[in-house]
């Protein structure tokens, strides 16, 4: 049986002038088979969708300044900018309430309420330094309509499936969008070693060869 193989695909720096589907097609031409899964980094999908903002463009509220203090200091929502960017898309009071509920939940041993009730962007926002230059000075939101993006990727490339993944060097791997029939947990485990590379590398596309056989 063919073994599963991870192939990182380097690209130039992508911007909001790029269409992610066209780019993936261009850089993976001749490399993708019908048993493979194409994986794209979530921050790069978001960047091509223009979902970025500079901290200087945000109007920081007192609520954001207060709420960010309750996030561990290396989290993307730990700065007033990260927190404000979340509040701008999910609602100031919704986020504040979710944070308070999360605090109460922890008191009774219930973790994760903030991320559950604060809106989908709560776990997706990357603060300054979270992305490669020139976006290291921006806040990057999570991608819009990830399910639609992976569906179009699969259709265009004729692959077994497609995923959008949020992976970092701290051994965290999460699937943000996945096509039907693909076991997202298995993909996430394969990507744990972050084949996309760290912030300064330019490999936002990863091909998982022979995933159909691996998944069984």
């Amino acid at each position: 049986m063919a073994e599963v193989e991870i192939v990182a695909v380097p690209t130039r720096i992508l911007t909001d002038k790029d269409d992610i589907i066209d780019i993936v097609e261009k850089y993976t031409k001749g490399k993708i088979g019908e048993n493979d899964v194409i994986s794209v980094a979530e921050s790069v999908v978001a960047i091509t969708q223009g979902r970025i903002i500079r901290p200087e463009e945000l109007k920081i509220s007192r609520v954001a300044q207060l709420c960010c203090r309750f996030i561990p200091d290396q989290g993307s929502l730990a700065s007033p900018h990260g927190m404000q960017s979340l509040m701008d898309v999910e609602g100031k009071w919704r986020v504040a309430f979710a944070l308070f509920a999360g605090f109460l939940g922890k008191l009774v041993g219930q973790n994760g309420l903030f991320y559950k009730w604060g809106g989908e962007q709560t776990a997706l926002i990357d603060d300054v330094t979270g992305t490669m230059p020139p976006f290291d000075k921006h806040i990057v939101y999570g991608p819009k309509d990830p399910q639609d993006v992976v569906k179009r990727l699969k259709e265009r490339l004729g692959s077994f499936g497609a995923v959008i993944a949020d992976v970092n060097d701290l051994k965290r791997s999460r699937i943000v969008g996945v096509t039907d029939g693909i076991d997202g947990d298995k993909v996430a485990k394969l990507l744990l070693d972050n084949p996309f590379g760290n912030a300064s590398q330019k490999t936002p596309i990863v091909i998982i060869k022979n995933f159909r056989q691996y998944q069984g």
Binding site: S79, P80, P133, P134, K137
Partner: protein
């Protein structure tokens, strides 16, 4: 009436608890220790240019992780003062040298420091040899400008460094002309 006292009491308690929490947690405090920088060194000299550098410690003396979002060096050498050389400054994290003058945003953990090279390149104007041009050199002011954040909204700070004409002359092997 008692219920009002209870409500006010709870609000005051929450307020005090919050204040104590924030005070205990502290904030990020990033400082550029220009007063403790290393002496300027000669990095490179060519027929028409010379580059000097010094190392500055950026310390996070606060109790929260911080970020230097950007950092650059502004040279202040107006024509009115001296038009023999063109000055260009650059800030560079010592762990990640770059040739593009781009300063990649970086984190500084609490109670930790990073080292940044402050570089200045002087290029002779009017087709002069650099040593000839530097014989008339004046003190050169450099502003080290950095944008930083932590638990507070971003701020821009700047520190002044002066590269004296005497230091330049000594490092470049030039004798300053007398007035």
């Amino acid at each position: 009436m008692e219920i009002i006292y209870v409500i006010v009491g709870i609000i005051v308690f929450i307020g005090v608890a919050l204040w104590l929490f924030l005070k205990n947690e502290g904030d990020t405090v990033i400082v550029a220790k220009t007063g403790q920088r290393t002496p300027f060194e000669l990095e490179e000299i060519t027929q028409d240019s010379v580059t000097f550098k010094t190392k500055v410690e950026f310390a996070n003396i606060g109790r929260q992780c911080g970020t230097i979002m950007d950092c650059y060096v502004r040279t202040l050498l107006p024509y009115e003062q001296f038009d023999g050389v063109k000055a260009a400054g650059k800030a560079e994290w010592d762990q990640a040298p770059r040739e593009d003058d781009y300063f990649e945003a970086l984190l500084i953990q609490k109670k930790q420091s990073v080292q940044v090279f402050v570089k200045v390149k002087l290029t002779a104007r009017k087709s002069q040899d650099i040593k000839e041009a530097l014989s008339q050199m004046v003190d050169l002011s450099l502003d080290l400008v950095y944008q930083h954040t932590g638990r507070h909204p971003w701020q821009i700070s700047k520190e002044r460094i002066v590269l004296t004409a005497e230091e330049i002359a000594n490092l470049a092997g030039v004798t300053l002309a007398k007035d």
